[in-house]
């Protein structure tokens, strides 16, 4: 009995190891890097799940001079086994009104998360890219059509006030 289980464990190791080990090792490096950089980038707070290194969450600050300013947005990362050769799946957990973010699911339309992914990106740099996307919405490929249409029809004020409202409602600590 004893021997059998050992065998099983051994074979599992042999089978799975190449990918998992590579992605695990890389994520571990990123984890250490994040601990070191925490102070350096106050806008991003990346946290790894206690029990699963393939699940991460991030808190990012809405960029200044945008309707998202003052909000704190939570992102969920699901990292695939073939990371970093395949991109992580990222979505907003906090509700946000933005043309390239699905209003219900929080899914993000960003080229580097799809076709333009390069293994040289890290979770940290993905966060930075998302912050940049918040500051520069791409109205021509909208996941949130209402928001996209406001921008495309030139109603900047409408877009901003909607976005600001949702930031207040969903991304700011409730006062009193």
């Amino acid at each position: 009995m004893q021997i059998n289980t050992d065998d099983a464990i051994l074979s599992i190791h042999l089978l799975v190891v190449p990918h998992l080990q590579a992605s695990r090792a890389r994520l571990f490096k990123e984890y250490k890097e994040v601990q070191r950089e925490k102070v350096a980038d106050p806008d991003i707070q990346l946290v790894c799940d206690d029990t699963n290194i393939f699940k991460w969450t991030a808190l990012i600050k809405g960029p200044s001079e945008t309707p998202y300013e003052g909000g704190i947005f939570q992102l969920a990362f699901a990292v695939p086994e073939q990371y970093p050769l395949q991109p992580p799946q990222v979505r907003f957990l906090t509700k946000i009104f933005h043309p390239n973010v699905h209003f219900k699911t929080g899914e993000i339309c960003l080229d580097i998360l799809k076709t333009a992914w390069s293994p040289a990106w890290t979770l940290q740099s993905v966060c930075r890219a998302i912050i940049a996307l918040m500051a520069h919405p791409e109205a021509d490929s909208p996941l949130n059509c209402d928001s996209g249409n406001l921008l495309r029809s030139g109603d900047l004020r409408g877009y901003q006030s909607m976005a600001r409202m949702y930031t207040k409602l969903a991304a700011m600590p409730k006062k009193g």
């Binding site: 190449p18 990918h19 590579a22 090792a25 890389r26 490096k29 990123e30 890097e33 073939q82 970093p84 050769l85 395949q86 580097i112 333009a116 390069s118 293994p119 040289a120 990106w121």
Partner: protein
């Protein structure tokens, strides 16, 4: 000249066919083979296009778009160790690889990257891992690294590169034979045509299904679907049967009054389908009156019946001619044996090609005739061109077409009958007479086929405003048959191909290349095609040629 236009690419000649195009680009632009390949894959193996882009936009643009990086001199002698940006490990120099674009990562990460991309089916354009770098990775590096990890995958990579010539190429299509004969066909210019592979399968080059002119590809697709569909059967059932109210079997009325009884014993009213008692007169059923007609239902049923009749009409004729075609295929042997007999006899006539030619003409026109029925079904139906013609116009056109069809049909049947005659028992005079008759009939059917195609092209399809339907042109000598690619090119390229094979073997590490690719290269290096093929070829030429030109007949 014709042979030059249509060529078969077999497994053996694939490499040669590809290399011809590669060499042109390599020589013209002074490139290595892999860069030429990258360029050609990007431009879908259109050599002219590559040259055109080169002339119009210049070398840098051409290379940049396709992801070719001309070798940068390897000055960058990095320090003995570097950090791989992907796994973030410190890697000694000898375990890392720098691509032509200058980006350097560790071998492990490169390999993983290649494995992922090959498995994703992107072997033909594996880009560098660096962000926004569009450079295509060096084939040799991919080969080396992947074969060290997974030899089978390396072989697949090799095959994908090779088959790119077929799959990413507008001028080349796989032969659709089942089981697959392994061949592909290359055309020169005209992509709208019907071709015959050396395996004997005839197919339409634009949709890869069986040769179907004068139907357009769309019509044929719809027709095949319709025939396969049970919808017409269902239609028939709704029109002609009612289901028994007790056992729900479909019941067809075979005569008598409106009181019908099912085999289960239940009787019901044919008009309304409701269960009834058994007592009845000719005009009424006891205890039952279903009253008025429901007009809608009646109309619907009528319409369904009409559609069904229409379809049955065309389908029956289509089927009849396809069946005749199959039966007539047996004539082949009879005629051949007759020719043998005749040739053995002392006779004035020495040449009996008119018999085979007549038979070929019959096959050819029989096909045309059978496909002309689905054509007519769609041409004069409402599905495709309902909005394009007024009923009057439609009727005129239909008459025009049907006259031609009828004439063709008559002559095809005459031809068929003439061919069933026993020629070997005839005296010389009678034989000569039969010969003249057969030749005449052949010429007439050929002319009729041609004019039917012309009518379709000019008067029927040509006048449509909205839809465009293209059909392959009629060729009186039959579907164009592909010729074997290349004894010529094999000879010319022998030196190069030898070189290539040896280099590719060394690149894969020697241990790997056992499978098909090496054996195939060996095959054509020797310049001898496989035995199977040469046999088949002999069969095609000596015994029977479906494609003998009609001009031969005309002359005689």
């Amino acid at each position: 000249m014709l042979c030059e236009i249509l060529q078969v690419i077999t497994r053996e000649s694939l490499l040669v066919a590809q290399r011809e195009d590669l060499r042109r680009v390599m020589e013209m632009l002074n490139l290595s083979e892999q860069h030429a390949r990258t360029l050609l894959i990007y431009h879908r193996w259109d050599v002219e296009k590559v040259f055109a882009v080169f002339v119009e936009k210049g070398k840098d643009k051409l290379f940049g778009e396709a992801g070719v990086t001309a070798k940068s001199c390897k000055i960058k002698h990095a320090p003995a160790a570097m950090t791989c940006e992907v796994c973030m490990e410190d890697i000694p120099k000898h375990k890392a690889t720098t691509m032509d674009c200058g980006h350097c990562f560790c071998n492990n990460c490169w390999t993983e990257h290649f494995v992922v991309k090959i498995n994703e089916g992107k072997s033909r354009r594996i880009t560098c891992m660096a962000y926004k770098c569009t450079a295509i990775c060096d084939e040799a590096i991919v080969r080396n690294l992947v074969s060290a990890r997974d030899p089978d995958l390396a072989e697949r990579f090799e095959r994908f590169l090779l088959e790119s010539y077929i799959e990413d190429n507008q001028r080349v299509k796989w032969c659709p034979s089942v089981p697959h004969c392994g061949n592909a066909i290359r055309v020169e210019d005209e992509k709208l045509c019907e071709v015959e592979c050396t395996c004997g399968v005839q197919f339409c080059f634009s949709c890869s299904s069986e040769a179907h002119s004068p139907c357009s590809c769309l019509m044929w697709e719809l027709w095949v679907k319709k025939c396969r569909d049970e919808s017409e059967t269902v239609n028939w059932i709704t029109v002609n049967t009612k289901s028994c109210p007790k056992c729900y079997k479909s019941v067809e009325k075979n005569g008598g009054c409106n009181l019908v009884s099912c085999i289960c014993g239940q009787s019901f009213c044919w008009l309304c389908g409701g269960a009834t008692g058994r007592e009845h007169t000719w005009t009424s059923i006891a205890g039952h009156s279903c009253g008025r007609f429901k007009e809608d239902q009646e109309k619907q049923a009528e319409r369904a019946k009409r559609d069904l009749n229409r379809y049955m009409h065309y389908h029956n004729r289509y089927k009849a001619h396809t069946d005749s075609f199959k039966l007539e295929s047996k004539l082949k042997e009879t005629i051949e044996s007759q020719i043998l007999m005749l040739e053995g006899k002392e006779s004035e006539l020495k040449d009996f090609s008119w018999l085979t030619n007549g038979l070929n003409r019959l096959f050819r026109s029989r096909r045309v005739l059978s496909y002309s029925y689905p054509f007519a079904f769609y041409m004069f139906g409402e599905d495709l061109f309902g909005d394009e013609m007024t009923p009057v116009e439609r009727e005129m056109k239909q008459n025009l077409f049907e006259d031609q069809q009828q004439q063709l049909e008559e002559n095809v049947e005459k031809l068929s009958k003439a061919l069933e005659e026993k020629y070997d028992g005839l005296e010389d005079d009678n034989l000569k007479q039969s010969r003249m008759q057969l030749i005449n009939l052949s010429v007439i059917t050929d002319r009729l086929c041609k004019s039917m195609y012309e009518c379709i092209e000019n008067d029927l399809l040509g006048s449509l405003k909205l839809a465009t339907h293209n059909i392959a042109a009629y060729k009186s000598k039959g579907v164009e048959r592909a010729s074997e690619l290349l004894v010529r090119a094999t000879k010319g390229n022998n030196s190069i191909s030898c070189l290539q094979t040896s280099s590719s073997i060394s690149a894969t590490g020697g241990t790997v290349e056992v499978g098909r690719s090496s054996s195939s290269s060996l095959n054509f290096e020797n310049g001898c095609p496989s035995r199977k093929r040469s046999k088949r070829e002999a069969f095609g030429n000596v015994l029977f040629d479906l494609n003998l030109p009609a001009e031969v007949i005309d002359k005689s």
